[in-house]
C-alpha cells in the first residue's frame, strides 16, 4: 500500500493514525522538533501552536541562512568569514601557522548553531548534507580552508538545488584536498575523488564500473588548489580525450574546456535517477526511520526529479507523509542528538561561549560524535546499530545529571522547580507526571511512572510539601532523560 502524501502538514497530522512506536505516544510537536531540529523546547511548541504546523514550517524555510540566524554564535566564529590565505596569516600572527583554531572554531560554531539557532530545520538539513558530502574537519591539509566547504557549499545550497551544491563541492579546496583531487593530474590520475563522487555523493555502489571510476577521475583532472588553498583549474594538468561514465559521454577534446566537461559530468550525475533514489533513501533514514518503506522513498525521489534536483521539495513530501507522522519512537537519538536535546529541553542559553562551546566540544568527543569530524568520506552513520556503546550511555547519563544539577561552568543555573509549570502540582505523583510532560513530551506509561515513584520511595498521593522531591528533584529529573521516552525520538 503506497504511503499517502497529504496536501498540507496539517492534513497529514489530522488524517494519519495517531500512533507511535511503543513505549512512545502520539506527540506531533515532539516528533517534528526532534527530527527536523535538535530538540524540543516549550517556546517552540508555543510557536507551533501559534503559527500552526504549516505556518511554522514556512517560517523555518524563510529563516536566514548561513550563520545569520544566530548572530551571537556566529560572532564566535571570527575566522569563518576569512579566506584561507587570511586564516593562515591570522594563525601565523597568533603563534602557530599550523594551529587548529579554525577547525576548532568550525566545530564549536556548528555545535552552537545546532543547540541555539532558531533556524532548526535549516541546521538539520545542513547537518545531513555535511555528512552526505563529508569532508573530515581536523584532517590533513584543510586547516585553513575547511570552513569554505561549510560556508560556501553546504550552507549556501542547503535550501537550494543539489546540482549546485555538487558543482560547488567539486571546486571546493577542502573537498579537493580531502579526496586527493588536488593532487590528481593527467600524468598521475588519482581516483579517490572520482570513486567517492560515484559511490557516495551520487548514484551509489552497484551502478557503475571501474572504468567509469577511471573516466570520472580523468575528466576531473586539473581541478586543484593554489598555494593559498584557493580553487584553481589548471588546464596543463587536465587529461584530454573522450570519456564515458555510465550513460554520459563527452569528447573532452581540449584542456581549456576540461573544467566544463567535468561540470557536465557532475550535472549528469546529479540528475541521475539513481542519485534521486539514493538521496531520498538517505533522507528518509535521517528523518523517518532506519527502515523507510520503498513507497515513501520513491515519492521523495520523484519530488527531487520533478523539481530539477531541488532539496526542499523532498523534505516537503516527507513532512506531509503519513509514514512520518506515525514514526515517533522509530529512531534512537544518536549520542550528539541526545546531548543537544538535553541542553535544549532545559532551556539553557548559550551562556559564556568561551566555556560552553568548548564544553559541548569535549562532550561530543567523549561520546564519539564531534560534528564534521567523521574521518572516512561516508559521513556519520545514521542507524541505531552503529552507535552501541556502554561508555557512551554512561557518559550521556552523566551529562543528564550534570545539566539537571547545573554542574558546568559558563551555563546558567537552572531552577528545576520551574519545570513543574502551572498550575503547580500538589502531590508527588502529579509532580512526576508534570515533569514527564515537560521533559519527555507527555506522561510516561504507568509502569514507567511507577518506576520513578518507586525511586522516590513514597506514594503518589504524598503532598509535594512533604515529598522527597524537596531534596531529590535533581536526581529524579535525570532519570526522565535516561528513559527510553527521551532516548528515542
Amino acid at each position: 500500500m503506497p504511503t499517502t502524501i497529504w496536501p498540507s502538514i496539517a492534513a497529514a497530522i489530522a488524517n494519519s493514525p495517531h500512533t507511535a512506536h511503543s513505549p512512545m505516544q502520539w506527540d506531533p510537536a515532539s516528533l517534528l522538533l526532534n527530527r527536523f531540529g535538535f530538540g524540543d523546547q516549550p517556546a517552540i511548541r508555543a510557536e507551533l501552536a501559534g503559527y500552526g504546523y504549516d505556518g511554522w514550517w514556512a517560517r523555518q524555510l524563510a529563516a536566514p541562512t548561513g550563520y545569520a540566524a544566530q548572530p551571537e554564535i556566529a560572532a564566535h566564529g571570527s575566522l569563518l568569514g576569512l579566506t584561507p590565505k587570511d586564516v593562515r596569516a591570522w594563525l601565523k600572527a597568533n603563534g602557530n601557522e599550523y594551529g587548529w583554531e579554525l577547525m576548532d572554531q568550525l566545530t564549536e560554531v556548528t555545535l552552537g548553531m545546532q543547540a541555539w539557532s532558531p533556524a532548526q530545520l535549516y541546521e538539520s538539513v545542513v547537518d545531513f548534507f555535511a555528512n552526505h558530502l563529508n569532508v573530515a574537519n581536523h584532517s590533513d591539509a584543510v586547516w585553513t580552508c575547511r570552513h569554505t566547504m561549510d560556508r560556501d557549499v553546504i550552507r549556501r545550497y542547503a535550501f537550494g538545488s543539489f546540482t549546485d551544491m555538487l558543482l560547488a563541492s567539486a571546486k571546493n579546496p577542502a573537498m579537493l584536498q580531502y579526496l586527493s583531487l588536488a593532487q590528481s593530474s593527467k600524468t598521475a590520475v588519482n581516483e579517490n575523488y572520482g570513486r567517492e563522487l560515484l559511490e557516495l555523493h551520487t548514484v551509489g555502489v552497484g551502478n557503475y564500473t571501474e572504468d567509469d571510476v577511471k573516466n570520472a577521475a580523468k575528466v576531473l583532472t586539473g581541478r586543484t588548489t593554489d598555494a593559498d588553498y584557493n580553487y584553481v583549474y589548471k588546464s596543463t594538468k587536465h587529461w584530454v580525450g573522450p570519456v564515458t561514465v555510465m550513460g554520459f559521454s563527452h569528447p573532452n577534446s581540449t584542456a581549456a574546456d576540461g573544467e566544463a566537461a567535468g561540470d557536465a559530468l557532475l550535472r549528469y550525475l546529479a540528475t541521475h535517477p539513481k542519485t534521486a533514489s539514493r538521496l531520498a533513501q538517505k533522507l528518509c533514514v535521517r528523518f523517518v526511520s532506519d527502515t523507510p518503506t520503498p513507497s515513501l522513498v520513491a515519492a521523495v525521489a520523484k519530488a527531487y526529479t520533478d523539481s530539477g534536483t531541488q532539496i526542499l521539495p523532498m523534505l516537503s513530501v516527507i513532512v506531509r507523509s503519513a509514514e512520518f507522522w506515525t514514526s515517533r519512537g522509530a529512531k534512537v537519538r544518536r549520542p550528539l542528538e541526545n546531548l543537544l536535546a538535553t541542553v535544549r529541553i532545559f532551556g539553557y542559553r548559550p551562556g559564556l561561549l568561551t566555556k560552553t562551546l568548548p564544553t559541548l566540544h569535549w562532550m561530543s568527543s567523549s561520546i564519539g560524535q564531534v560534528p564534521l569530524d567523521w574521518s572516512p568520506p561516508n559521513g556519520y552513520p545514521d542507524v541505531a546499530g552503529s552507535w552501541r556503546s556502554s561508555g557512551t550511555l554512561l557518559n550521556l547519563w552523566e551529562y543528564h545529571r550534570g545539566f539537571a544539577q547545573s554542574w558546568w561552568d559558563g551555563f546558567d543555573t537552572i531552577d528545576l522547580t520551574t519545570l513543574y509549570g502551572s498550575p503547580a502540582p500538589t502531590t508527588s505523583g502529579a509532580a512526576i507526571r508534570a515533569l514527564c510532560v515537560r521533559l519527555a513530551g507527555g506522561p510516561l506509561p504507568a509502569a514507567h511512572q511507577q518506576a520513578l515513584q518507586t525511586f522516590l520511595g513514597e506514594p503518589a498521593s504524598t503532598p509535594l510539601t512533604k515529598s522527597a522531591l524537596r531534596w531529590y528533584l535533581g536526581h529524579l529529573v535525570p532519570l526522565i532523560l535516561d528513559s527510553p521516552e527521551f532516548a528515542l525520538r
Binding site: 511503543s22 534512537v332 556502554s390 552523566e398 518507586t454 532519570l479 535516561d482
Partner: protein, 468 residues
C-alpha cells in the same frame, strides 16, 4: 518499538518470515544453549536463575552477561578463551629507531649515511637474528625475548596506505578502503555471542577498528566505569533505569541492561584490582589502561578483543629525546602488564602493537623524521613464534627504498589476520580484510589447547537484586 520484521503495510500474516525474524529465532536457540553452558560454569546458579536474570541488574554473575547481536545470531559462540589486544601508536612511530637493522647485511651502513644521529647510542642485540637490535629504551621487554614471548615484524605496510595519518589509520582500522565497519568488529561477528566485556576499548572513544554492530564497552578507566552522579542514589537510579527499559526491543533494550550489569561486574573486578607478581607500572594513561586490562583479564570476564590507543609518536622534531622517552614508558608499561598477568595467564593473551606507517629513513633538518612508509609491528604475550624477527626484509640502500622510505615488504593484514585466526579462532580472514590475499608469516602458533574453563568466579553482589 514495533517489531521491525513486520512490514508496515499490515499484511504481515501473508508475508514469509524475513531474514531478521529467522535470525532472531536462531538467536533464541543460541542464547539458551549458551545459557545452559554458562549455568554449568556458575556452580550453584541454575539455568533458570540465569535466564530470569538476563537483563537484570545485580543478578547475573561476573562475566556471564550474554550479549547477542544481529551479526552474531548466525554463528554459535566459538570463543576459545584467548584475548587479542591491539595497541595503536597514533602518529607513526619510527620503526628504524625501535628495531634497528644493526648489521651490514641488514643495511646499517646506509643508515649511518642518512641518519647517523638517529641510530640509538645504546642498543640491545637480539639473539638468534642476523643483526637486529632493540633500542635500549625497550630493555624492559628483553626478558620476554628469552622466554619466546616477544617478536617483531619489520617493513610492515599494505597497499592503499598513504602518508596521511588520518587516511592510513582509517585504512588500517577498517581493514580495507571499502569497509565502513572495523576489522575487529568483523572478527567479533564471526566469534558469535560473548559476554558484556567481550570487546573493550580503553580510551575516551571507540576506535574505528571496533566500529560496527557488535556491542562493545568503551572504558575510559575502570575506576570511572561507575554510575554517574551522587553515589547515594546510584542503586535506586539503576533500579529505576532497569525498570524503564524492561521489555524494550531494539539495541537500547539490549545495551542498557548490559551496561547496568557491566557496572556491577566492573565494580567487582575493580574491588579485586591490585598489581601482582611484583610488577611495577610507570605513571601515565597508557600504563593505567594496561593495568585496567590486567584486572579485567584476571577477573575472567570474557574479554576477547581489546584496544588501547597511545599517542605522541609524530616525531618531526627532536626525535632522540621525544621517541626514547615514549619508548621507555611504553616498554615499562608493557613489561609491567605481562609481569602482572603472570606466566600462566598471559599464555592466553596476545598483544600486537601497531602504528599507521613508518617514518622517512633520512633524518630531516629538525633532528626528526617526516612521514614514511614501512613500520614495525611488535608482538607480545602467549601463542607466538616468539624470540624472532619475522617476515621479509629488504636491506636498506639508496636503491631499495620506496621514495626514501622503508618499503612495505610485509603485509600488516597478514600479521593481524594470522593472530585473529590462530589466537581467536576467526574462520574467515578475508571477511576481516576484504580484497586482501591472506598469506600468513608464521608469527603465531595455532591454538592447540582445548577450550579452557572459564573459572566460575563467585562475585559478591555489589547491590541487592532488583525487586520485580
Amino acid at each position: 518499538m514495533t517489531d521491525k520484521s513486520t512490514p508496515p503495510s499490515g499484511d504481515a500474516l501473508l508475508t514469509p518470515p524475513t531474514g531478521d525474524a529467522l535470525l532472531r529465532r536462531q538467536a533464541t536457540r543460541v542464547r539458551s544453549e549458551l545459557c545452559a553452558q554458562d549455568a554449568s560454569w556458575q556452580g550453584g546458579w541454575t539455568r533458570r536463575t540465569f535466564l530470569a536474570g538476563l537483563g537484570m541488574v545485580g543478578v547475573a554473575a561476573l562475566g556471564s552477561q550474554l550479549v547477542t547481536t544481529r551479526a552474531a545470531y548466525a554463528a554459535p559462540g566459538t570463543s576459545n578463551g584467548n584475548t587479542l589486544i591491539v595497541i595503536f601508536m597514533r602518529g607513526a612511530a619510527d620503526g628504524l629507531r625501535i628495531l634497528v637493522p644493526n648489521s651490514s647485511a641488514l643495511g646499517l651502513d646506509y643508515l649511518k649515511t642518512v641518519r647517523p644521529q638517529l641510530i640509538p647510542a645504546s642498543l640491545s642485540p637480539l639473539s638468534g637474528t642476523p643483526g637486529w637490535a632493540l633500542n635500549s629504551a625497550l630493555a624492559p621487554l628483553l626478558p620476554f625475548w628469552t622466554t619466546g614471548e616477544l617478536a617483531f615484524v619489520p617493513g610492515v605496510s599494505t597497499a592503499g596506505i598513504s602518508r596521511s595519518h588520518f587516511q592510513a589509520q582509517s585504512y588500517l582500522e577498517r581493514g580495507s578502503d571499502t569497509s565502513t565497519t572495523g576489522w575487529l568488529d568483523r572478527a567479533l561477528s564471526q566469534l558469535g555471542p560473548g559476554t558484556t566485556f567481550r570487546a573493550v576499548a580503553e580510551g575516551a572513544t571507540l576506535p574505528a577498528a571496533l566500529a560496527g554492530e557488535q556491542t562493545k564497552l568503551v572504558v575510559d578507566s575502570l575506576k570511572n566505569f561507575v554510575f554517574p552522579g551522587w553515589s547515594g542514589v546510584a542503586p535506586q537510579s539503576e533500579t529505576a533505569i532497569a525498570t524503564l527499559y524492561r521489555g524494550l526491543s531494539g539495541p537500547l533494550g539490549e545495551d542498557v541492561p548490559a551496561t547496568l550489569a557491566a557496572l556491577a561486574t566492573a565494580a567487582s573486578a575493580q574491588a579485586k584490582a591490585g598489581v601482582r607478581n611484583g610488577a611495577v607500572y610507570p605513571s601515565g594513561n597508557f600504563s593505567t589502561a594496561l593495568k585496567d586490562l590486567a584486572t579485567l583479564l584476571r577477573a575472567e570476564v570474557g574479554v576477547q578483543v581489546a584496544t588501547v590507543d597511545v599517542g605522541g609518536w609524530d616525531t618531526h622534531t627532536d626525535e632522540v629525546n621525544q621517541l626514547d622517552r615514549n619508548l621507555g614508558s611504553a616498554a615499562k608499561s608493557l613489561a609491567a602488564f605481562l609481569t602482572d598477568l603472570g606466566p600462566d595467564r598471559r599464555k592466553r593473551v596476545t598483544v600486537a602493537v601497531v602504528t599507521e606507517f613508518g617514518r622517512r629513513v633520512a633524518m630531516n633538518a629538525s633532528g626528526g623524521t617526516d612521514h614514511g612508509h614501512g613500520s614495525v609491528v611488535w608482538l607480545l604475550g602467549g601463542g607466538l613464534a616468539g624470540g624472532a624477527v619475522h617476515g621479509r626484509w629488504s636491506p636498506l640502500a639508496a636503491d631499495t627504498l620506496d621514495s626514501g622510505d622503508v618499503p612495505g615488504v610485509n603485509e600488516v593484514f597478514d600479521v593481524l589476520g594470522e593472530l585473529a585466526q590462530k589466537r581467536l579462532g576467526v574462520g574467515s580472514v578475508s571477511a576481516l580484510f576484504p580484497g586482501h590475499s591472506f598469506s600468513p608469516l608464521g608469527v603465531a602458533k595455532a591454538v592447540t589447547l582445548p577450550m579452557p574453563p572459564q573459572p566460575p568466579v563467585k562475585v559478591p553482589l555489589r547491590r541487592g537484586p532488583i525487586p520485580r
